[in-house]
Each structure stands twice: as structure tokens, then as C-alpha cells.
């Protein structure tokens, strides 16, 4: 098909917008720029073969294997739609000249973080709220506590990358030296230098959402939302009987909206925990892909688990070999006399770099500070009060 015949062009445009409309109803993103590309593809490959149209659309609207099922449903309902249904809800077909540009926002690196800023407790009531165990608060107080968490801002956790930029070190910036020499009529002063740029380390949060963790997991998810609004790359997962990825859902700026969205995605909220299975799934599906590589991993769980402690140990081992460091936040750890005797917890402990309590707002702020803290990995003393023997 030549595509220059006006009827042909109208048909291509109709198919392109029609399919895009249907796909949008199934939840796929169909920006105008993509529809234009699709129209061009249709003109190139022709409308006769269903397979060709299918693959043309798929190459434009599918950006990952998770979109394929939605695309298939949308395509099927479009292609096999009864003829009468179309005219009524077809969108208007507009033929535009493609002058859109997909501008990519460049991520700006910033050097040297400021002091950790945490929403201060200025009133004694807030102080008490900050220290209180979340499980012991009334619903109203819990909401206040959660609001306090959302108000926190975090310090950037920097790490070195391979990217070089002007800075101070022994390495010469030849490009700028040559340019400077040219300005000085050929006189060379080797004064410009390069240093490795600093970039934020990725954060991975694995939050136990089982029944025993009820009040605490909500707070931890709030904290994750705060982290997600920051500039570090972050991935958040809920751990119950299975693993649920929450990252995309926490991206909204509105905390309440984001958390409702996230909670809706977790099929087994307040169910049981199978930590070993969840860790195994994380390692296999995401860890291998490199999400956890060099990252700060934060596991929030009481360690009370129904699964096999050996599995937990081996999966924690796998994780510790790729992660930069592992923080374990345990709401039970604040109780006086707590010792990590639960088999799941004991199995995981040797692989944990920093063990912290997480029962109150203050404790979570401490976690925030710890995440934003040092970049070096030093062996740390496990921080729980265990009297000898």
C-alpha cells in the first residue's frame, strides 16, 4: 500500500487511533507521539495481515514483558470488535505533523549533602508521640505519627561513580588544559583536574506486611514513600506470603494516595510471612538483574516466620554478596531484654550489617539517618541490648 492515496491515509489514521484508544482503555500508555509512529509503521507494513498490524502496534506500545498481556487483550478486542460499536465512541481522527520532541530530563548530580534534616519535634506532645510504640497508639494518634514521618526530609546518600567531572584530585583534565593553553597562545599550565563524580546509592526496601507487623508496616511504607520522593533511585517491595513490587505505586507526591494505591496492590496484607520464599523470589527475579547490586537494602521485619530458616540464611547470603550493606529494622528490638531468638531472625542476623529497632517514629527517623549516612562498609556491632549469658 502506497499510503499516498487519501483514503488509505484516512484508513491508517483510523486504525491507529482506534487501536490506541482501545489500548488506553486496557491501561496502556498511548501518547500522541507513539500513535504517530504507529501510523507510520502501519503505512509501511500495510493493513492486510493481522499479524503485521499486531507486531507493528506491539513494537510501539509495549515497553516491557509486563505490558504484553494488556496489549494482547486490547488488540484482540479492537480487531474483533463488532462493526456497529465503532462509530459511536471513536475519537476524532486528527492528522498532525509530527513536531513533538521527547525531551528527557537530565538528572543533575549534586555534590556534598547538607546536614540531615529531619522534621524536628518542637512540642513535648510531638516528642511523646515520637517515642511511643506505634502498636500502642490509638488510630488517631497513629495518623498523627504517620503524618510526622511524611514530613521528614532526607539526606542524600552519595556514592562514587565512574563518571568524571571537574574536581580536585591527581587526575588531569586534558581537555580543559588544552583549551586553556590555546587561550594562552600555547602556554601549558596543567592546572585543571578531574575527580570521580558522586551519585546516590540505590535503596531497596523489603517490608514485611504480615499480621504481626500491622501498625509498623504502615509506618515503614510511609517512610518508603518519603524516600521515594527523594532523588535516590529506590525500589520498594512488600513481603508477605509472596513478594509484591510497590515502587511505581509510591511515586505519587500525595502520601495518602500513594499508600492507598500501594495497599491495594498487596494481595496478602496482614497474612503470614514466608521470608525465605520472598527473599528467594527477590533474588531470582530482581536481585540477579542487578537491582540490589551496590544498593543499601533495608529489611523491615520482626523475623517471625513460618518458613525454613536455612532457606532464609542462604538467600540472605546471596543478597549480602551483591548488596552494599543490609539494614534490618525490627520493631521488637526495642523491647528491653529482646534477643533475636526467633529462628528466622537468628538465621538472617549474620548477614546483617546494622540491626535497628523500628517501633516508633523516632526509631524510624534513626533509620532514615542511617540510610543517608556513611557510604563505607564497616563491620558493626549488632545494636541490641543483650546481657552476657
Amino acid at each position: 500500500m502506497s499510503g499516498s492515496d487519501p483514503d488509505d491515509r484516512a484508513l491508517v489514521a483510523a486504525v491507529a487511533t482506534g487501536l490506541a484508544y482501545e489500548l488506553r482503555k486496557h491501561g496502556l500508555s498511548t501518547p500522541l507521539s507513539s500513535i504517530l509512529i504507529f501510523a507510520e509503521a502501519l503505512a509501511t507494513v500495510g493493513l492486510k495481515e493481522e499479524q503485521s498490524v499486531y507486531w507493528a502496534g506491539r513494537s510501539v506500545f509495549v515497553h516491557g514483558p509486563e505490558d504484553v498481556a494488556l496489549y494482547d487483550m486490547g488488540f484482540f478486542s479492537y480487531w474483533h470488535a463488532p462493526a456497529e460499536a465503532s462509530d459511536a465512541d471513536q475519537p476524532q481522527v486528527l492528522v498532525l505533523a509530527p513536531t513533538l520532541s521527547d525531551a528527557l530530563p537530565v538528572v543533575e548530580d549534586q555534590l556534598e549533602g547538607a546536614e540531615p534534616e529531619v522534621a524536628g519535634a518542637t512540642f513535648s506532645a510531638s516528642e511523646r508521640l515520637g517515642r511511643a510504640d506505634l502498636a500502642a497508639l490509638s488510630d488517631e494518634e497513629v495518623n498523627e505519627a504517620l503524618a510526622m514521618i511524611s514530613a521528614a526530609r532526607r539526606m542524600r546518600n552519595l556514592k562514587r561513580t565512574r563518571r568524571l567531572a571537574p574536581g580536585r584530585s591527581a587526575r588531569l583534565d586534558l581537555r580543559r588544559n588544552v583549551a586553556a593553553a590555546v587561550k594562552r597562545d600555547g602556554e601549558i599550565l596543567a592546572e585543571h583536574r578531574l575527580a570521580r563524580r558522586r551519585r546516590e546509592r540505590r535503596i531497596v526496601v523489603l517490608c514485611d506486611v504480615s499480621g504481626s507487623m500491622a501498625s509498623y508496616s504502615r509506618a515503614m511504607l510511609r517512610l518508603s514513600h518519603v524516600l521515594a520522593q527523594g532523588s535516590a533511585p529506590i525500589e520498594v517491595f512488600a513481603v508477605g506470603t509472596r513478594l509484591t513490587r510497590l515502587t511505581r505505586r509510591l511515586q505519587s507526591h500525595d502520601a495518602n494516595l500513594a499508600l492507598r494505591d500501594a495497599a491495594a496492590a498487596i494481595p496478602d496484607f496482614s497474612g503470614g510471612t514466608r521470608l525465605g520464599d520472598a527473599l528467594a523470589e527477590f533474588n531470582t527475579t530482581y536481585g540477579v538483574r542487578g537491582i540490589a547490586r551496590g544498593a543499601t537494602v533495608v529489611i523491615c521485619s520482626d523475623g517471625i516466620d513460618r518458613g525454613d530458616p536455612d532457606r532464609i540464611a542462604s538467600e540472605m547470603g546471596r543478597l549480602s554478596r551483591v548488596a552494599h550493606r543490609i539494614l534490618w529494622v525490627n520493631p521488637l528490638a526495642a523491647s528491653p531484654g529482646y534477643r533475636p531468638l526467633a529462628r528466622g531472625m537468628a538465621a538472617a542476623l549474620p548477614f546483617v550489617d546494622r540491626f535497628m529497632p523500628g517501633e516508633s517514629v523516632d526509631a524510624l527517623f534513626a533509620v532514615l539517618a542511617e540510610i543517608g549516612g556513611q557510604s563505607s562498609r564497616r563491620p558493626r556491632v549488632v545494636a541490641f541490648a543483650a546481657p552476657a549469658a
Binding site: 509501511t44 506491539r58 514483558p65 568524571l164 590555546v182
Partner: protein, 300 residues
């Protein structure tokens, strides 16, 4: 060069270069070539992404220009760089001679003579009757956001501007293939600029066909057994499931050992050819080599 005027034509041409593409890949490749849009291939490692670029270059007869991405890759490694040492020598020599001054020096320093063309620039520089080159940007997920921004500009206009030299615009547009192993979510804008295709490990029959094409004269019964064994392994929760490349290597290795029928001993002995992680090998052995071998030989 064969005329690539339909998905079927692309498929035939690739087959002639020993690359077996399914209908989907052939269609998307056809569109990428005709529309001069980049082809974005994402999928399991070892599923044939890089191989496709090689096959396309063989088909067009053009040069295969490869850019291997890594964390921190930037303009100097990917696009162009000045040969600073020679420039500095030139400057010293001029200064010693008391020769050129001011603007003249600048004109001498920033010329073709001192320009080092890296892969991206080379891909834009084909001229005259040259065949269309294939630019393979491998493992873009290992690079960072800033590099993606650079690519986005380049891939929309097929032109770059070099501050000291001016704009370089491609007269012959390269066929661009981007690959990603999905260790990171590549920015959507880059995917939207391209035509996307997800490559999976092939189904049994197709994988047998691929291996058979790649190893001329090989015993097909052996190929079927090895493929069945690899498929069984892919069902396990391995750290790094074996790809088609591993199936090919394993078949070749077993063939050289004179194996006609798989048994547990030879499988265990050659496990290192197909599984590259100790934990994976241990897992497979724990799951039972006898069962694995039985399933494999059943499909001979």
C-alpha cells in the same frame, strides 16, 4: 544486498546469515530498517540480541559498529575525543618556534587531524556508496540517565554537533540496534523513540533449528537432547538461566566428546559449559541429574 521490502524478505535474508528470526522479530526489524528508527531489544541474556545486529550487518554488507556501554560511559568514549597528547605536542612545538598566535593556534588544534572518532561518530560518518552500517549499542542498561539523554538527541536527528568543528549529519542513516538486559529500567523516552521488542528464550523446536543451523553437520538427536535438558534447567530458579549461546556451546562440547546419548556422568562432567555459577550447578545436581537426563533422552 537483498531487497528488504517486507518482513518475509528480512526473515529470509537473516536466515541466509544463519539467524533464525520469528515473525515478530522479523516484522519489527523490517519496520526499524524501513522507518530508520532504532530497534530496542530487551530480554534474557543469551537470547540472541547481539547476534541479530551481527546478522543484519552481514545482510546489508555494511560495517558493524559496536558500542559496549558501561557505568559512566560518556561523550569522550562514545562519540569523540581530541588527541590531547598530540595537541599538546603541537602546542609546545609552536611555542618553541615562537610561531602562530591566538586564533591561528585554535584553528590548527581543532581539526580532523587531531580528532578521534568513537563509535557513535563513526556510525554517522558513512558516505558515498557505502552500505548501511549497523550501530550496535550494547547493554544500554549499564549506562546512566545522562548518557541516555545524549543518545536520545543523536537518535532523533542522526546528527551531532561538535563544539569546535560544527554539526556532523549522517548522509547514510545507520541501522541502530539497542540491547538491554533489564538490570535497570531504561527511560521511557528512549523506548518510545525506538521500536521495542522483547526477546525470550525460544521454544523447543525453534531452538533445535537454531542450534542445527549454527553447527553444520551436527547430530540432530544430540541437539534435541541437549535442548530438552536446557529447557528443563530453565524451569528451575537459577541465578543465571542458560541462554541459546549455552545450548550451542554445550552441544558442540558433547559432540566433540563423541556423545550420542546423554547420561548423568557426562552431564555432570560438562555442567560448567552450560551453567556459570556454582550455586546453579549445585541446584541442578540437587534436583536430580538422573531425572534431567531421562527427560532429555526422551526427546531425542
Amino acid at each position: 544486498m537483498p531487497v528488504l521490502d517486507s518482513p518475509a524478505a528480512v526473515r529470509e535474508a537473516l536466515l541466509a546469515e544463519h539467524y533464525l528470526a520469528d515473525d515478530g522479530l522479523a516484522t519489527v526489524a523490517f519496520l526499524a530498517i524501513s522507518m530508520s528508527r532504532p530497534l530496542f531489544l530487551e530480554g534474557e541474556p543469551g537470547a540472541g540480541k547481539t547476534e541479530l545486529a551481527r546478522a543484519l550487518a552481514a545482510v546489508t554488507g555494511g560495517e558493524l559498529i559496536r558500542l559496549q556501554c558501561y557505568e559512566g560511559i560518556d561523550v569522550a568514549q562514545a562519540l569523540y575525543e581530541w588527541d590531547y597528547s598530540r595537541q599538546l605536542l603541537h602546542l609546545r612545538a609552536s611555542e618553541a618556534r615562537g610561531a602562530a598566535r591566538g586564533a591561528e593556534i585554535e584553528d590548527e588544534i581543532y581539526t580532523e587531524r587531531f580528532l578521534v572518532r568513537r563509535p557513535l561518530l563513526r556510525a554517522l560518518s558513512a558516505t558515498g556508496d557505502a552500505a548501511r552500517p549497523v550501530l550496535l549499542i550494547d547493554e544500554i542498561d549499564r549506562a546512566d540517565d545522562e548518557f541516555e539523554a545524549l543518545l536520545l538527541e543523536l537518535l532523533s536527528e542522526y546528527a551531532v554537533s561538535i563544539p569546535e568543528l560544527g554539526t556532523v549529519r549522517a548522509t547514510i542513516r545507520p541501522i541502530v540496534v539497542l540491547t538491554s538486559n533489564r538490570t535497570r529500567d531504561v527511560h521511557d523516552a528512549l523506548k518510545r523513540r525506538s521500536l521495542y521488542h522483547w526477546i525470550e528464550h525460544p521454544e523447543f523446536d525453534r531452538e533445535v533449528a537454531i542450534v542445527t543451523i549454527r553447527l553444520p553437520g551436527i547430530d540432530v538427536g544430540l541437539v534435541r537432547q541437549v535442548t530438552a535438558a536446557v529447557h528443563a534447567m530453565r524451569e528451575l530458579a537459577l541465578y543465571k538461566p542458560p541462554g541459546v549461546a549455552e545450548t550451542i556451546d554445550w552441544t558442540e562440547a558433547l559432540s566433540r566428546l563423541g556423545t550420542k546419548v546423554l547420561d548423568s556422568e557426562v552431564v555432570e562432567a560438562t555442567l560448567g559449559v552450560v551453567l556459570k555459577y556454582r550455586e546453579d550447578a549445585d541446584l541442578v545436581v540437587r534436583e536430580g541429574l538422573d531425572e534431567l537426563t531421562r527427560r532429555a533422552t526422551a526427546r531425542a
